[in-house]
């Protein structure tokens, strides 16, 4: 295991902050070829840089395109690093696996995409099911990916019942205690989350990350 040269740390961080996927991948490949520890690259460069991007977005210092671009660059770097780890018989270390999606009937996913990007930035593996996702699909994906958390989003008032469907189906399939189930989105609040028996609710994207962190330490 070797330390990551400072110039490469700076180069990779700058590429991630700029959302330059090609430059970020090139910097990652260069770091690996010069003997950088793959896990250290993730934990000491990629994650803290993406957390910084998330902070800037929360503070309105950058806009959504910059956040998305940085997130995509981070995902591309992670793929390169994971490939290297697998080749060397190792495995990617993540903070946990989260299945996320916008519930059935709701096609609004910008909020969900922001939350998914921040989860990734904080080192979680994210299975993003997209939008208009039936309740059963959340659970099937959680089972298939050995997830820790199921996160359901609903923006519109008449789609929030989709969150209740996920909760009900989890109970019906006797899987409710197997996963943390959290909800968010414009049409939801803490009262509704309590009513459907969710483990948590957050009105903000950064709050969702903190919520998952606190649930995972239980």
């Amino acid at each position: 295991m070797s330390e990551i040269p400072t110039d490469l740390v700076e180069k990779l961080a700058a590429a991630l902050l700029a959302g330059d996927k090609d430059a970020a991948v090139a910097a990652t490949q260069e770091a690996l070829s010069r003997g950088a520890d793959p896990l250290a690259l993730i934990q000491e460069v990629v994650v803290p840089t993406l957390v910084e991007v998330g902070r800037r977005f929360e503070n309105l210092e950058i806009f959504l395109p910059e956040l998305i671009a940085a997130g995509e660059a981070g995902t591309a770097c992670s793929a390169v690093i994971e490939e290297r780890l697998i080749q060397s018989g190792g495995a990617m270390k993540t903070e946990g696996t989260i299945v996320i999606g916008t519930v059935k009937g709701d096609i609004h996913d910008i909020g969900k995409n922001i939350v998914a990007t921040l989860f990734k930035a904080h080192g979680y593996k994210v299975i993003d099911l997209g939008k208009d996702v039936p309740a059963a699909a959340f659970i099937d994906a959680a089972e298939a990916n050995k997830a820790d958390v199921i996160a359901a989003s609903a923006l519109m008032s008449i789609t929030r019942a989709g969150c209740r469907e996920v909760a009900d189906l989890l109970r019906e399939r006797k899987l409710r205690d197997k996963y943390f189930f959290i909800v968010g989105g414009g049409s939801l609040d803490q009262d509704y989350a309590d009513e459907i028996g969710a483990d948590g609710y957050s009105p903000t994207a950064s709050g969702a990350v903190e919520l998952v962190k606190s649930l995972m330490t239980r």
Partner: protein, 464 residues
């Protein structure tokens, strides 16, 4: 192109246009917008939330046309891009109406295209603006809007339950709820003696099935009423939205192009979102055959538009469309604060004044930014109309509107991160007499007095 020909063309292009992943389209739109903002030298200055710059307004329009022609409309179901030439866009703009008849009988109002600093005051098309509502006191809430003397039309809110059961989009529950809520809106206008008042939408309906379920000339929405056809952020449509178009055309109803551009979203900062907003007007003209257009700017973090970014987008988009088209369009104030707070009324006032001098008719209000159930009342809606008329009556210019907005912003900007959500309808009104509580009336009088000092020329209001 004739109407039918264009509809068929839209369908064919939605099936044969360039295939593209949604994320690729978002990136394309973000990058092209950024380039156009630079190319057309569109600038935002936080001290100039309502610029009086005709040349920049025209550049915003040109950049918006260019963006629309360059990136097209993204069809979410087919993942294809529907493109239109500049000539097709201009032809559709020429065919769009400049005068509308809203409602019927003695309650009919005429909505005309408004120019920048138009001497004719705007109409105020109001209601809970799609905000979440409970079943409790829903009729009383709608009456609180319809009875206001400075409200010219209402729009139904979005109820959450039907007989206590969660409504679910695309199911029989949505249809049942829409039938009930459109009938409730009809009953509200009847109860206040304005049976022909225009009803802008039944927001409980989210899908095409739900929207179409409101078409009922006896108990629901009539041809003289309207229905929203929405865009998804940014410049996106789908079959569910497009299905509404031929239905509403044949029903003879108003088609309202709902745009919800996100400041800080894919369009970037306020300069880019102004350009994107112009392009979204054009989508409504070309694809939705909109009779009028409803701009509902939304801040990505606070879900309001009373902040400097929102006010700037309002001002620049409005001026761009007012100067370069003959369209009829509205805007709604989305606030962070709620009823029984002075801050809500200051947020509404800043938005209303700028909207009034930038070519809009009034719409809204989205109190608490849609975050709190039942936190919307007729008082702030009527107040919005009063402020608009007082603005025009006083001959407020864009320069003066900017000064007033800058004077009002300090009165509420601290609430962006610490919202004062206020009180729900049932606590802000006496629900038997449907009148605002003393506390809410006191807020109204206090804020009007402050606005009068800033130069607005009010007439007698309902709660003075």
């Amino acid at each position: 192109m004739y109407m039918n020909e264009r509809l068929v063309e839209i369908f064919q292009r939605s099936r044969g246009g360039t295939f593209m992943k949604e994320a690729e389209y978002d990136l394309l739109l973000a990058n092209r917008t950024r380039e156009l903002v630079r190319e057309y030298a569109i600038k935002f200055d936080p001290q100039m939330v309502c610029p009086a710059d005709d040349a920049m307004a025209d550049r915003v329009f040109e950049a918006g046309v260019q963006l629309f022609c360059d990136v097209g409309v993204y069809h979410l179901d087919t993942q294809r891009v529907i493109k239109f030439s500049r000539a097709e866009v201009m032809e559709a703009l020429r065919q769009a109406p400049s005068t509308l008849y809203l409602g019927e009988g003695a309650d009919q109002v005429i909505a005309r295209h408004r120019s920048v600093e138009d001497p004719v005051p705007s109409l105020n098309l109001s209601g809970p603006a799609g905000q979440p509502c409970s079943e409790d006191h829903y009729l009383e809430m709608l009456i609180s809007y319809a009875q206001e003397p400075y409200v010219d039309a209402i729009e139904s809110g979005a109820t959450l339950t039907y007989n206590g059961v969660d409504i679910m989009a695309g199911t029989l529950m949505e249809v049942k709820a829409v039938q009930r809520d459109s009938a409730t809106a009809r009953e509200a206008v009847r109860r206040v003696g304005k049976p022909g008042m225009h009803i802008g939408d039944c927001a409980t309906g989210m899908t095409a099935i739900g929207k179409m379920a409101a078409s009922d000339p006896i108990n629901g929405l009539r041809p003289c009423d309207g229905r929203l056809i929405a865009q998804m952020c940014e410049l996106k449509t789908n079959d569910d939205q497009l299905i509404r178009v031929p239905h509403l055309i044949n029903y003879g109803s108003h088609r309202i192009n709902l745009m919800t551009p996100l400041t800080g979203g894919i369009g970037g900062g306020p300069e880019g979102v102004s350009v994107v907003s112009v392009a979204e007007f054009l989508l409504g003209v070309v694809c939705y055959f909109a009779t009028y257009h409803y701009l509902s700017i939304t801040h990505i973090k606070w879900t309001n538009n009373s902040d400097p970014w929102g006010l700037y987008v309002l001002a620049m988009t409005g001026q761009a469309m007012a100067r370069n088209t003959h369209l009829v369009f509205t805007d709604d104030p989305f606030t962070v604060c709620g009823p029984c707070t002075d801050e809500l009324l200051y947020e509404v006032a800043a938005h209303s004044i700028i909207g009034e001098v930038c070519g809009y008719h009034q719409h809204g209000v989205g109190s608490t930014g849609g975050n709190e159930v039942d936190h919307h009342t007729g008082l702030e809606a009527g107040f919005q109309g009063e402020v608009a008329r007082a603005t025009t009556r006083a001959g407020i210019t864009r320069e003066r509107a900017n000064e007033i907005a800058l004077a009002l912003l300090p009165k509420y900007k601290d609430t962006f991160n610490a919202p004062k959500r206020g009180k729900p309808f049932a606590l802000a009104y006496n629900i038997k007499t449907i009148t605002p509580t003393q506390e809410w009336q006191d807020c109204y009088r206090r804020v009007k007095e402050e606005l009068s000092k800033l130069g607005l020329a009010f007439e007698q209001g309902p709660w003075d």
